[in-house]
């Protein structure tokens, strides 16, 4: 009697998943092939990571080798976060699984004309109107900065929150005012999802078009498109309630916002749309390239998933 063998695991597309799961404390391990959090009293909680886009691990979690292997197999991004959800480190399906996509992204970013087209499309999607003609990327950034400050002021007035300015200082977390803390938590939430989506689509998080020079420049670019319809209003709404535990309340409200805006359905197509605006074809393999000895298997997941 041969042992029945289960089929190999395949990542699911981002659009078929729930956004984020936060794990506060416990050991993450694999029991009978399921991904399980075991707390100190021995309580076991299975996490269906095959249908989660990214798993946020808070201080107090430990992860076993087999748990990381399983997360990679099902294409779930693990993000280690510090206090209040500020990202420390991420591991998942490492980016760059698709050389054609990476070369395409780099080609767009290196070509000034194409890059401007991509940036213009990003702004058009974000502000729901075409940006003014004949402006450089720098000029567009200036216009954007003014608009963003205006939006913050507007939202602060709308929700009757006292607002001075955006303050990113992560080094002094507790010193930040409540609206800023809510905003940082909320943006951390959407960055995790955007990073998972960028990796799943086969692109590099570091190669940005508006933001540059950071390991997650492209993540910030993509998150900015969705930020003002999802997490920013949430942050101000929660801040207005003067909550006892702002970070937790923000998370719950962000999840609702992601669901209502169908963020996970839209995120990968939007990445493709802004890049397509550059007007360059996805490069073909060069003539003398060695063809694949082992053809890639067809998977259920997105293009960048290692199925």
């Amino acid at each position: 009697m041969p042992q029945p063998i289960l089929p190999p695991l395949k990542p699911l597309p981002i659009k078929d998943r729930i956004s984020v799961v936060y794990v506060e404390r416990g050991n993450l391990d694999v029991i009978d092939g399921a991904f399980v959090v075991v707390d100190v009293t021995g309580v076991r909680t299975q996490i269906p990571i095959g249908t989660v886009a990214c798993l946020m691990l808070e201080p107090g979690t430990r992860v076993s080798h087999s748990a990381v292997v399983l997360a990679a197999r099902v294409g779930c991004l693990l993000v280690w976060i510090g206090e209040a959800g500020v990202r420390l480190y991420a591991a998942g399906q490492p980016g760059g699984a698709r050389s054609d996509r990476l070369l395409y992204q780099a080609k767009l970013a290196l070509d000034d004309t194409a890059r401007l087209k991509v940036v213009r499309r990003m702004y058009a999607l974000r502000f729901r109107e075409e940006p003014p003609e004949r402006r450089s990327v720098e000029q567009l950034r200036g216009i954007e900065g003014v608009r963003v400050r205006k939006m913050y002021d507007l939202l602060a007035r709308q929700y009757k929150v006292e607002w001075k300015r955006r303050n990113y200082d992560h080094t002094e977390w507790e010193s930040g005012d409540i609206p800023n803390r809510c905003l940082s938590s909320a943006t951390a939430c959407i960055y995790g999802i955007c990073e998972a989506a960028i990796l799943a689509a086969g692109y590099a998080p570091a190669v940005g078009f508006i933001h540059t020079g950071k390991p997650q420049s492209f993540v910030y670019d993509i998150a900015d498109i969705f930020k003002f319809e999802t997490v920013v209003p949430v942050a101000f709404r929660i801040a207005a309630k003067k909550p006892r535990d702002p970070e937790r309340e923000v998370r719950l409200a962000c999840r609702d916002a992601f669901r209502q805006t169908k963020l996970l359905d839209r995120i990968v197509p939007t990445i493709e749309e802004v890049l397509a605006a550059g007007g360059i074809e996805v490069p073909k393999a060069h003539e003398e390239a060695v063809t694949m000895a082992i053809p890639n298997k067809e998977g259920l997941g997105d293009a960048g998933h290692r199925g």
Binding site: P4, I5, L6, P7, L9, K10, L12, D16, V30, I31, D32, G33, A34, F35, Q46, P48, I49, G50, T51, L70, V74, L300
Partner: protein, 102 residues
Amino acid sequence: MLVIVVENVPPRLRGRLGLWLVEVRAGVYVGDVSKRVRAMIWDNIEKGIDEGNAVMAWSTNTESGFDFLTLGANRRIPVEMDGIQLVSFLPPQEEGVAKPPL
């Protein structure tokens, strides 16, 4: 909405189902997945079922509002009555369990 109930299946299949669905009671899994993912999950059940049995029910656009599939031997067998899927419960048998019709 998708509901799966498995009985007498190897632990590895139960763990595998826990990767996509939530086990709300022993062997009872609930989730909400696309048609393609549902087919993939059923494929896992078919390959890993061993001696056990399973049923998978999901919401769909039928008059009942759902549809279901079964696999493996069980005293409850699906019957179709003029387009409506119902279940017949077989009497207990002395020598083993009734085989479901193919």
